[in-house]
Amino acid sequence: MIETVIRKRIEILTDTALLSRVTDAVDEAGITGWTVVPVNSGKGRDGRWREERVMGTDKVFVLTIAPEDKAQVLAEALAPVLTKYGFILSMWDVEVIRGERF
């Protein structure tokens, strides 16, 4: 049977305009990589948003897989920004193959 290891999968919803802040934080936490997934629309405390491209306030998901400790570093680094900009961060355990690369 193939060997898997446990890592954290972290998912951050951020404004596109602020994407580089999040990815910089991922890089600084020493995590090997990240992937950006588009988002169509949403609703939160500030009401609905959609088709915000005209306003440059659209959002994306940043996904990254990291060992527990680095995930923790990232979460700590992002916590203040989260509150300020209304981002969302969630994380959970996943099994990955080729664990050595994360």
Binding site: D15, A17, L18, G47, R48, R50, E51, R53, M55, Y85
Partner: protein, 330 residues
């Protein structure tokens, strides 16, 4: 309603905007894909930039151009003060939101400008080509004033200010507008003629579909709006009236021709809903987009397109004493 205003309402460009408003209010699922809308907006900016540059390559740069630039930049810096006072006083907004909204009204809306140019040209009052450069120059000063008002002088975060200034001066629309403007000057009429069928012949049609989309977006946003009070609605209509009149009058006083004076008036009257909201998310995340976007996009923008451009055009004709088109003809 006189002839010029009526003519506005038989222009396909304006009619498509109205169609968008109506379709959204009827809760139709009509929607333009995001990528198409973005593509059209890039096209419109490239085309208007090119056209302006070619016009300047023909007419050359004289003192009028410099005066118009100076006027526009001054207006962009100063208009937020008036807006801020009204928003805080009459509008009852607190400091942060008042500053953010003020920045929007000091800056400009490219699509409002483009629509105004179409309407003015149809009325026989084409603005000077250099007005494109004026528009680009007016995009950013208001952001600085707005931030100053919102945060006071004591902004300490140097790193972020640098990031913001970069964002503001190299944002997509400024770069594309000024880049295309420069290309227009370099290529000149002859070089431009190669691409005329694309950038000139298609222009109005693309503008129709783009305004259809803007109508949809503006109406949908206002239907979802929550943070907007009746006082803010009044301000979102009053500010473009006042700013437009001041801008037109100042331009006419400085000797700009009727079309350019009207165009400057429209620039003053218009509120940004692209460059400035993005900058505000970066610099003033605490400000509420539900306020500034709804005011600029869903109230001021339609008001300018449907009514205020016509009014400003008439004012410009009256002030410059040059009827130009049917504006004040019997």
């Amino acid at each position: 309603m006189d002839a010029a205003t009526l003519q506005t309402f038989t222009s396909p460009v304006v009619l498509f905007f109205v169609l968008g408003l109506l379709a959204a209010f009827a809760r139709s699922d009509l929607a333009i894909p995001e990528a198409i809308a973005k593509g059209m907006s890039l096209y419109l900016m490239a085309a208007i930039g090119l056209k302006g540059g070619v016009a300047v390559s023909k007419s050359g740069v004289d003192s009028t151009v410099l005066i118009a630039l100076a006027l526009g930049i001054a207006a962009s810096f100063l208009m937020p003060f008036l807006a801020y006072a009204v928003l805080k006083g009459f509008g009852k907004l607190e400091r942060i939101n008042a500053g953010a909204v003020a920045a929007h009204y000091g800056s400009v809306s490219v699509v409002t400008f483009v629509t105004a140019v179409e309407i003015l040209e149809a009325q026989g009052k084409p603005p000077g080509g250099y007005m494109v450069a004026v528009m680009a120059a007016m995009e950013t000063p208001a952001i600085l004033t707005g931030l100053l008002l919102a945060r006071g002088m004591g902004s300490k975060d140097g790193q972020k200010t640098g990031e913001l200034l970069h964002e503001v001066f190299f944002n997509a629309s400024v770069v594309l507008l000024l880049g295309a403007f420069a290309i227009g000057i370099i290529a000149g009429e002859e070089g431009f003629s190669e691409v005329t069928p694309f950038f000139e012949a298609g222009f109005k049609g693309v503008l129709c579909l783009f305004l259809l989309d803007m109508g949809l977006i503006a109406a949908r946003r206002i239907m979802d709006a929550r943070a907007i009070t009746f006082r803010l609605v009044l301000i979102a209509i009053g500010l473009p009236l006042v700013n437009g009149a001041i801008g037109t009058a100042a331009a006419a006083a400085c000797g700009l021709d009727v079309g350019s004076a009207a165009a400057l008036g429209v620039l003053c009257a218009s509120a940004s809903y692209i460059a400035v909201p993005a900058a505000m998310r970066l610099a003033l995340p605490e400000a509420d987009p539900g306020i500034y976007l709804t005011m600029s996009l869903s109230i001021t923008f339609p008001f300018n397109i449907l009514i205020n451009i016509g009014l400003i055009s008439m004012l410009a004709s009256a002030l410059t004493g040059m009827p130009g088109g049917e504006g004040i003809a019997p």
